[in-house]
């Protein structure tokens, strides 16, 4: 995917902005993920070469932080919040229901790659717990029924509204 010149040019701009400084690794990884969607090994090798950092160091940093993705995720992404407030308000039951309904496991995607179920430690909307994010829409005070309906809508091609 590196070969894609347009995106590589964008990455080069980012690298230049940061003056190819080692200490900007996190910022550059953030931007690279924005540009490419995820960070594959070819891209990491490229970044490691550009910043003159050992590949194992770059890989170590990428895998240390849970925000960085090494693989492409599903077309639609449901994110369950595992924050304390959501946990106390039974988010677990909703996650189980999603897993059953769409036959996938948390952290994974459906067989057709249409839907991924990810977890996050807190989206910060604790007062509205439990929260589930369907694509870009935060569903507060979520219930099983509501969430499943929203996911079905998203999968059915009706794009979830971005707020």
């Amino acid at each position: 995917m590196i070969k894609d010149d347009k995106r590589r040019a964008m990455l080069e701009k980012v690298l230049k902005e940061h003056d190819y400084q080692e200490s900007a690794l996190l910022e550059i990884l953030h931007r690279a993920q924005e540009i490419y969607g995820y960070l594959d090994k070819e891209l990491l090798m490229d970044i490691s070469g550009s910043l003159n950092l050992p590949p194992s160091h770059v890989y170590g940093v990428v895998t240390f932080y849970s925000f960085f993705k090494l693989k492409k995720s599903g077309e639609h992404v449901v994110t369950g919040c595992l924050g304390t407030a959501c946990y106390v308000n039974e988010v677990e039951q909703i996650l189980e229901a999603i897993e059953q309904e769409f036959d996938l496991k948390r952290g994974g995607s459906t067989a057709d790659g249409k839907l991924s179920l990810l977890l996050t430690r807190c989206i910060g909307a604790c007062a509205m717990a439990p929260n589930i994010v369907v694509d870009y829409e935060v569903i507060g005070k979520a219930t099983k029924e509501l969430v499943i309906q929203k996911i079905k809508q998203a999968l059915g091609g009706v794009k979830a509204e971005t707020s």
Binding site: K41, P55, T63
Partner: protein
Amino acid sequence: MSTNTVKLKIDGVDVTAAEGTTILKAAKDVGIIIPTLCSLEGLTAYGGCRLCLVEVSGTPKLFPACTTPIGPGMDVTTQSDKLKEYRKIAVQLLLAERTHICSVCVADDHCELQAMANQLGVDHVMFERNWSREEIDSTHDFLVIDRNRCILCTRCIRVCDQIEGVHTLDLKLRGKDSQVIMDLDEKWGNSCSCTSCRKCAKVCPVGAIYVEGEPIEHTKKRDVAEFIVERRNRK
């Protein structure tokens, strides 16, 4: 090195050492050996294994001897019931964390973890063991890594970076999932930066990294880092 010296007490013994010396080193100089696993002379201190925790009077906190510099008037205790208990728990945790089976291990009798368990009287492990099952990587011509025996002391990573200077090795992931990797988590045989210098195998305290077909007592030359640093300083 500062010429200022510091006076302190370690296990009741009066000690004088240069300012900036660690408790570990100051104790060793007067013949008091504090148990360690991740520390190795010639490499930077890591402070990870927590075997070398000591007590300093006046505070309930425990201090890692390998990274804590001595202070004037310090009164250090390196052996107490509490420390003994904690060291035994630390060794048990390491034994339970991955698959450590001495009788089938290449490093049997040349293993620092095994020796530590014996020395501290860890005659059983109170935790249920986590039977890890990491694939053994023997793709390199002669170096082998069995991550099931790794205790994450990072000596190999430090020697690779600080002494050999290539930084082939590092850690991936975090917490209990941490693993020693080569380059972008490649198989060792495919690593483009590894110089096959074997220092990682030499300093590995356990049987996680070894040289295939070589008698273990030949491989485990753990003073290699100290030796090289000394030789370099001589120039």
